[in-house]
């Protein structure tokens, strides 16, 4: 009888165990459901906050960009025949586009390295405890705040055919240069570009330099490392994300240099200054949607490729110091 009893009780225990297990399963289920619910609520809430921005970006940038992609592959807004890559091929054959792309690339590839290296130089210079450091920082940053339109006049005085710089050159007996109407014109714009952008880049580098652990440099000092070694082995490595960012930023700014060119020499500059934006402006005037769209898509692809490459390069060479 006892064993029977035991079976009963154990059976009861078993049953109750089952029950508790079922209960736990139940609560786990509930919890999961709960979690899913909060997750869904969170998603909904986050979307509420994001919506105004997302909607605007969608309407003004993303959706029309799809249309741009579509336009770049049809032969006309009215006929709408699918021609795939024809517009791109035509664009790459277009002499104005080729010239604009060449000039822009030429300018970017000289301006960007200079903007990076000189800005880093300025930042390093201010790092050496010179008197009046913050004053100098203010001075270097000030051009950023001056609208280009305001200083173009001075640039014209400086670089005009009868301008100050030519006066100076003639003082030394050399021939004067027609700065804005010759192959030297990119130099004029380059100086304006650097004048305007170096301060911003310098601040970025200064922030980067401030992030380098002080102990590391102190140890290097104690060990008697040379300035050059400290720079290449420590500073440059820690600065590599900054270098990446400054490069991207300067690249974008160098594409914007049309602004300077336009204000200096108007719609039809010397041909070396014919930038991509000039090409776009002229195409806007003729409202050739296919050409415009193809150019926009091509440039977007180019930018994405370039940025991806820069990220890859930074990942490759600056990895060991991260974290």
């Amino acid at each position: 009888m006892i064993w029977l009893n035991r079976i009963y009780t154990s059976g009861g225990e078993l049953a109750s165990e089952c029950e508790t297990e079922r209960a736990t399963i139940n609560t786990m289920d509930n919890r999961r459901r709960q979690r899913n619910k909060t997750k869904r609520e969170d998603f909904f809430r986050s979307l509420c906050f994001l919506m105004p921005s997302l909607l605007g970006v969608g309407v003004f940038f993303i959706l029309p960009f799809f249309v741009v992609v579509y336009y770049s592959m049809i032969d006309g807004v009215s006929s709408r025949n699918f021609v795939f890559l024809d517009n791109f091929i035509k664009l790459l054959d277009n002499s104005a586009f080729k010239m604009a792309a060449k000039n822009t690339l030429q300018f970017s590839f000289t301006a960007v390295p200079l903007a990076v290296v000189l800005a880093m130089g300025l930042a390093l210079m201010l790092e050496c405890r010179i008197p009046g450091k913050s004053r100098f920082r203010t001075f270097f940053l000030s051009p950023m705040m001056v609208p280009v339109a305001s200083v173009v006049l001075i640039w014209q005085v400086l670089f005009g055919y009868n301008g100050t710089i030519n006066e100076f050159i003639m003082l030394f007996g050399a021939d004067r240069i027609d700065w804005l109407q010759s192959d030297y014109c990119q130099i004029v714009v380059l100086i304006l570009f650097l004048w305007k952008n170096l301060g911003y880049n310098m601040i970025l580098f200064m922030a980067g330099l401030a992030n380098i652990p002080k102990e590391l440099l102190e140890v290097a000092d104690v060990e008697g490392a040379s300035e050059a070694y400290k720079f290449f082995a420590i500073k440059l490595r820690y600065l590599s994300p900054t270098v990446l960012f400054v490069t991207i930023l300067s690249l974008i700014n160098s594409f914007k240099v049309f602004r300077e060119v336009y204000l200096l020499s108007g719609d039809y500059p010397y041909e070396k200054l014919y930038m991509l934006q000039h090409f776009m402006n002229n195409t806007f005037r003729s409202l050739d949607y296919q050409k415009l769209s193809a150019a926009a898509v091509l440039m977007a692809l180019f930018m994405v490729g370039l940025i991806a490459f820069l990220f890859w390069a930074e990942d490759r060479f600056g990895k060991d110091v991260e974290g």
Binding site: L47, I130, L153
Partner: protein
């Protein structure tokens, strides 16, 4: 050893001084020259702009720092006598202020969303914003133009203001600032029963005040300087901002152009002098695209 260090620091200081002069000269020259009379400007720069309006034109260009006679006549001519320039200045202001205000409002809400909730979906959208931010005008202007055309707002201010409001730059920067707010604070507020809107307005926004200011400065300069957008999206000369208009005033009345140039840089310079520290902080935080 010590001597050597002093020497190198002296050299650095000199270099900095030279650079400082180079950086400051154009601005200072513009300002001082705006106080010259038309006659003096013509005498000094007549050769460059070849506006032989009579009077004495010197054979060489005189780059002059200090005017012979300080006069406000250029300002009076530009601002009081001919209201068209004032109108252009209003155009600039009416284009830029709504962009700055609404961009910040929308960006702060979006940045809160990116800060408060993480997840693959949001990470993807944020990444998308970064890419969009890095696109040059040449790419974004075409979609903007198409939309403006569909909405029928081409050649109105809205064609510039609306896309400007949704520019992703401030979303990106503000998110970076907000992510530095300790998450514990948000969690604590939530436990105490605060709603999301309360957390946003009472915890996040007050701590982002300086960030908002610095971003406002950056956005303001960017749009105050704009040339590309009005050239394409605003066709009639009437509603062009001063930045575009300044380039066309150059040829005839150089003295006037100097005065207008100075008027045009006053708002940004004031912002700079007032908020330099914030600005520097803002720039420093824009410093990395990742993370």
């Amino acid at each position: 050893m010590k001597k050597k260090r002093y020497f190198s620091r002296g050299v650095m200081f000199l270099l900095c001084l030279i650079f400082a002069v180079m950086f400051l000269m154009p601005t200072v020259l513009t300002i001082t020259n705006s106080f010259m009379s038309e006659a003096e400007i013509n005498a000094n720069y007549g050769m460059v702009f070849s506006t032989t309006t009579g009077g004495y034109v010197s054979k060489t260009v005189n780059l002059k720092f200090i005017p012979d006679k300080v006069t406000l006549s250029q300002y009076i001519d530009g601002l009081i006598k001919s209201p068209e320039y004032l109108l252009k200045l209003w155009n600039s202001i009416f284009l830029v202020l709504p962009i700055v205000i609404f961009q910040l409002a929308i960006a702060s809400v979006a940045a809160y969303s990116f800060t408060r909730w993480r997840g693959k979906f949001r990470a993807f959208i944020f990444f998308f914003y970064v890419i969009l931010m890095l696109m040059p005008y040449q790419v974004t202007l075409v979609p903007n133009y198409l939309v403006s055309e569909w909405l029928g707002i081409l050649n109105t201010r809205w064609a510039i203001i609306l896309p400007g409001i949704f520019a992703p730059f401030s979303v990106f920067l503000l998110t970076k600032f907000m992510r530095r707010i300790p998450y514990v604070q948000i969690e604590a507020a939530k436990v105490d029963g605060a709603g999301e809107w309360d957390i946003f307005t009472k915890i996040c926004l007050p701590q982002c005040r300086s960030a908002l200011y610095s971003i406002a400065i950056l956005v303001f300069i960017d749009y105050w300087n704009m040339v590309e957008q009005p050239l394409i999206l605003l066709e009639d000369a009437e509603s062009q901002p001063l930045s575009v208009f300044l380039s066309s005033v150059n040829t005839g009345e150089v003295g006037l152009a100097f005065a207008l140039a100075v008027v045009y840089m006053i708002p940004t310079l004031l912002l700079f002098l007032h908020g330099e520290e914030y600005l520097i902080e803002g720039i420093a935080h824009s410093g990395s695209v990742k993370g």
